[in-house]
Every structure is written in C-alpha cells, then in structure tokens.
C-alpha cells in the first residue's frame, strides 16, 4: 500500500522537491549577504535607544532584491497550503472516482479504511514537511530583518511587519503546519464528497480562502481576552479628521512600553474614560499643526484607549491556532473516512 501511494504521489513529490530546492538555492545565495549587511550596521553591539535608530537605518537601506525576496518568501509560504490542498488533496480521492479506479483499488485484499489511511498519511506528512521546511528556510534567511524589527526599527514597508501582522503570523512559527494539514484534509474531504476533481479543487480553494480571511479578522483577536488600557497622547498617535465639526479619529499602531504588542483597536477617551469623537474645544483657528492639536487635546484630559494583545502571548497564539487547524484537519479526515466506508452509493 505504501508502494502504491508513493507511485501515485511520485509526480507531486518530485515537483515539491524541485520547488523546495529552487527556493533553498535562492535563499542560500542571498542569505549570507543579508546577514553581513546586518552586522555591518553595527546592531550587534548597540545598547538601548540607539538600537532602534540603527535598526531603522539598516532596514531603510535594504534595497535591490531583498524586499522582493522577502515578499516572495512570504507569498510562497502563504500559497503552499493552498497549492497542497488543491493539487494534493482534492485529486486524491476524486480522481479515483472519476477514473472509476476505486473499483480496482477496493477489490484488492486491502480494506477501504487502510487504503485511505495510507493515502492520507504519506502525502499528509509530506505536506507538513514541505510547508514547515519553507517556513524554516524563510525564517533563517529573514532573521536579520526580524531582529531589526524586534529592536524597534521602523522603516519601510517591511518594518510594519510585527510578529502579529497577519502575513507574518501566518508564515512564521508553527502555524504553517496547521494550515497545510487543514488544506490537505479539506481537499481530500471535498474530493470524497464531490467525487469530481475540478469542482473539488474549486470548493477547496473557496473554503480555505474564506477561513484564512475569517481567522485573522474575526477569530484570532478573540482567542484570548484582550487587555484594555489607556495611554497618553504621544508621538505614536495619528490623528485623522478635523474640520469645523472637529471630529477627530485617534489611532495608534504601537503602544509605548509594550513593544511588539498587537493593537486590536484604539480610540480617544475623555478624562472619565468614555469614548469621544468630537472635540469642539480644540477647533480654534489657531490650531494649525498636529503637535498643537495634540497638546490641546492632552490638556483637556483626552487619552487614547487601546485594546491589545501583549507580545508575550505570541507563542500562546501560535500553539492555539495551530491546534485549532490540526483539530479541524483530523475532524475532516475522520469524516472523510466515515463517508467512504459507508457504502451508500
């Protein structure tokens, strides 16, 4: 059974190995230079506040292929589970039904359950290995960037990428494992239920995309109860709006004293802690600059209320989300097994 599974999986395995090798070569060729750029920036020996500036300097000078490669790496890891779900998962069983080879497969001396179990295990494990391999390679290559951001460097588009930033969260740590397992199991189950390869591929793509959108938007923020606090109006605050009605929106992307925290929402509150959105007392024509507006608001006791997840919870989030997806994958696989063994039609 292992031989048959391997023989049927051969083409996909070789493609994946080739892609992995190409990616590895690309990263291996460019990685050391990136590391040397990092050490040349002197961040290794910095202290305290100067680190942030050095980090920002390092990040802003990254030109040429590095930002592109970074994004390419992120894209590859984001797409790997989808590709696995569509091209490894969906055809696994659907193709057997379409070609009617299930008549051949199920009338050898192997039970349907054992047949499906091996067919799930081999490509499933390969899926996990490939995705995690990509993620680890990317993590090794982008380590300098990650350290620079962690030290408070803020420059360029890459620097927005805190660990909780959706694209970063989804491509680092162990979450890719969960996504790959889920996508594969989703594809297989779609194939079992729909029995046609192309429709199963489409359904897998649609459902996986929907889940991957819903997770960071609505589910992940609430996996743990968020923390609420208020902070004084400072340089991190951005103000939008204004005009005669003096309706300002205050938002912040970082929380002083909590580097790397995940800001879920922020807004202005008055001295008693209630949200306010209009500030008629700060609409004098004299307030022309941002800093004077902020001084005016601060003097009236306006603060910013922030709802956030502490940076220290990062790994808790990683493990929880991975566990959720792995559980979903197992549930789907179990359901697929049950449907297949049912012999209704």
């Amino acid at each position: 059974m292992i031989w048959l599974t391997w023989r049927q999986f051969r083409l996909q395995a070789i493609t994946a190995a080739a892609a992995l090798a190409a990616f590895a070569i690309l990263l291996a060729v460019t990685g050391p230079h990136l590391a040397s750029l990092y050490s040349a920036a002197g961040i290794g020996t910095c202290h305290g506040g100067s680190c942030g500036q050095l980090a920002s300097a390092f990040l802003s000078q990254l030109a040429g292929p590095y930002p592109t490669l970074y994004l390419l790496g992120v894209a590859v890891i984001i797409l790997a589970p989808v590709v696995i779900g569509i091209f490894w998962g969906a055809p696994l069983i659907a193709h057997e039904f379409e070609a009617r080879t299930h008549y051949l497969a199920w009338n050898q001396s192997v039970t349907r359950t054992r047949w499906l179990a091996v067919k799930l295990a081999l490509p499933g494990l390969a899926a996990l290995a490939v995705t995690e391999g990509l993620s680890l390679m990317q993590a090794w290559w982008a380590a300098p960037i990650g350290r620079a951001v962690g030290l408070g460097g803020t420059a360029g588009g890459i620097a927005r990428a805190s660990r909780f930033y959706p694209l970063v969260f989804a491509t680092h740590g162990i979450t890719p494992l969960g996504y790959a397992a889920f996508a594969f199991a989703l594809g297989v189950t779609a194939g079992v239920l729909i029995r046609r390869t192309v429709p199963a591929m489409a359904v897998t793509l649609a459902i996986f995309a929907a889940v991957q959108l819903a997770m960071p938007l609505w589910i992940r923020p609430h996996l743990f109860p968020p923390v609420r606090t208020t902070t004084a109006i400072g340089s991190d605050i951005s103000i939008a709006g204004g005009g005669p009605t003096a309706n300002y929106t205050l938002t912040t992307f970082t929380l002083p004293g909590h580097p790397g925290a995940w800001i879920l929402s922020s807004g202005a509150v008055n001295a008693t802690g209630n949200p306010v959105s209009s500030f008629p007392f700060c609409t004098q024509a004299g307030l022309r600059s941002l800093s004077s507006t902020m001084t005016c608001l601060a003097s009236h006791g306006i603060r910013v209320a922030v709802t956030y997840q502490p940076a220290g919870r990062y790994w808790a989030f990683e493990w929880t989300e991975t566990a959720i997806f792995l559980a979903l994958a197992l549930a789907l696989a179990g359901y697929g097994c049950w449907r297949l063994a049912r012999r209704r039609s």
Binding site: A99, R343, R344
Partner: protein, 298 residues
C-alpha cells in the same frame, strides 16, 4: 454443495426507485453463472452488493459464507472486474502487476507474468494507451493472479470487438479450468454467455425472473403451439412464461417439470436466447404497467 452467493430478500433503493428488489438467490459453487438482463435491470447493483461496494437497503447477502468485503481475508477470496475494465492510466502494465503483488497476500507473480507474456502485452506500456481488449485482459490477469475462489465480472465483454471478446472468454475459461474458479458474469446479450455459462439468472425490472442450471432450464421450458386457447385453461403444473395469439393459433412458452401430454400441442424445444427473451419481454410489459425502469448510477 456450498453456495458462493446467498441472497435473501435483497433490495437496494436509490431515492425513490428500487434498483433491485426482492432478490433471493442461492448460487452454487463450481459454476460459471450468467447474469443476463437489459440495461438498467439491476445487474450492476447486484454485483456491487456482492462485492461490498454497496450496502443493502433491505435483506442480506453473503458471499462465500461471509459478509462482502468484511476484511482482508474475505477480499482476497473474491475478485472483481468492473465494467469497462478500469485501470490506472498513468501506471504501466508492470506497475499494475506490482500493485497486485503489494496489495494481495495470495498473489501468484509467476502466473501473472506468464499471462502478460503470452498475451503479448508490453510491460512498460502505460495502461492508458492499451486497447479495450488489452485493458480487459490486464484487468482479468489482475483478478486471476490473486487466486480468488470466486470471480465476479460486470459486463466484461460488452464493449469489446468480436475477436477481443473471444480471446477474453478463452482466457477466462482456461483460468476456470486451471483454478477451479466459480464465476459470475453479467451481460445484456445472451449470446456472450451461451457458450460459457452453465447456470443462468435472468434479471429484468430489478427482479429475478428465473434462475437455475442451464441444462435444467432448457429441459423444463417448452414451446407449445396449437389451436387458439386461453392460457388459464392449462394444468396447474404448467407455468406460462409468455403467450402470443393469432385468431386461430396460440403459441405459449411454458415452464414445467411434468411431461406435456395434451395431444393438441406441438411441443418443441427452446433455445437459451428465446427463453431469456421471453422472460425479458414479459417483465418489460409488466414493468411498463407499473413504474419506469431507472438507469443505475455507476
């Protein structure tokens, strides 16, 4: 003699239609059994129930004394060749033999390789590029080389040209003689089955119309022709299968164990094809009165 297939009140329902109803059979071992009936009559359904691809809605079926596909040992005793001989298009002929060797503990590799060689199949050729006849022979080799006790084939020759058909049946008969196999094969043409079957089941309109050894069927069915007469006036032991009348003449196909003593009848023997056709036309006429036949999804 032990029964290879035992069915009691077997039925399978899809949505609102019964693909198979009220099927009670006891197929003895050591025979080549022909399952004949028009398309949509339920042949594939019955064979799928016998191999465990489907579960019954009502009744029960036992194959070689056990529930179909109830475990690896049971699966090893029964070989199945589905309609149109599905094979893995991307795998070569030799790969298929390896498949058989890996998935069947009772695999006879020498037998398989010998047949492939004798058939002139190229082991390196991809199965997808084989002709229909070659695919059927490959699939047959796969089922025979696992050394089952019972072989079930669903319309194995329906889509083959006459030469491929003859060669397939030759290979099958040799395997039957060699391994003492019991065989159940279905077809919608009786001519495919006449030479090879010694037991017949006629399935029309999802129901078994008649079943028994071919010799006995031929001995107990007679064609009676004589002056115009109401079939209801016949003696009780004579069961009328089909009747046709002109204004002066009546022709009846009857099934009876007793001799026909009425001198008014001219008695002649019935060929297997006419026998089957009579059952098929009667059941079709009755079916049209009841509900429409449903094509069974593959």
């Amino acid at each position: 003699m032990t029964a290879v297939v035992e069915a009691r009140g077997l039925g399978k329902q899809y949505h609102r239609n019964w693909a198979l109803a009220d099927c009670t059979l006891s197929i003895p071992a050591g025979h080549v059994v022909g399952l004949v009936g028009p398309n949509g009559a339920g042949k594939t359904t019955l064979l799928n129930l016998a191999t465990g691809m489907l579960a019954p809605t009502t009744g029960a079926i036992e194959v070689l004394g056990a529930r179909p596909a109830s475990g690896p040992a049971q699966l090893a005793r029964v070989g199945y060749l589905a309609q149109d001989a599905p094979v893995y298009a991307g795998l070569s002929v030799a790969d298929h033999l390896r498949l058989g060797a890996h998935l069947n503990p009772g695999w006879d590799g020498g037998l398989a390789r010998g047949r492939i060689e004798r058939l002139g199949l190229d082991p390196g050729q991809k199965a997808g590029s084989l002709s229909g006849g070659q695919r059927a022979q490959l699939a047959l080799t796969l089922t025979i080389a696992k050394r089952p006790e019972l072989l079930i084939l669903d319309e194995p020759v329906s889509s083959l040209d006459p030469l491929a058909r003859r060669e397939f049946l030759q290979e099958l008969m040799e395997a039957v003689a060699d391994q003492d196999l019991s065989v159940v094969l279905s077809s919608h043409l009786i001519s495919d089955l006449e030479r090879v079957c010694d037991y017949l089941i006629v399935l029309v309109g999802s129901r078994v119309q008649v079943a028994g050894p071919v010799e006995e069927l031929l001995a107990t069915h007679h064609l009676l022709s004589g002056p115009r007469r109401d079939p209801a006036t016949l003696p009780g032991g004579q069961h009328v299968v089909s009747a046709s009348h002109t204004d002066v003449q009546t022709t009846l196909l009857v099934r009876t164990k007793d001799p026909i003593l009425d001198p008014a009848w001219t008695v002649s023997e019935v060929g297997l094809e006419d026998l089957v056709l009579a059952y098929m036309s009667q059941a079709a006429a009755g079916g049209r009165r009841r509900n429409h036949l449903q094509e069974v999804p593959r």
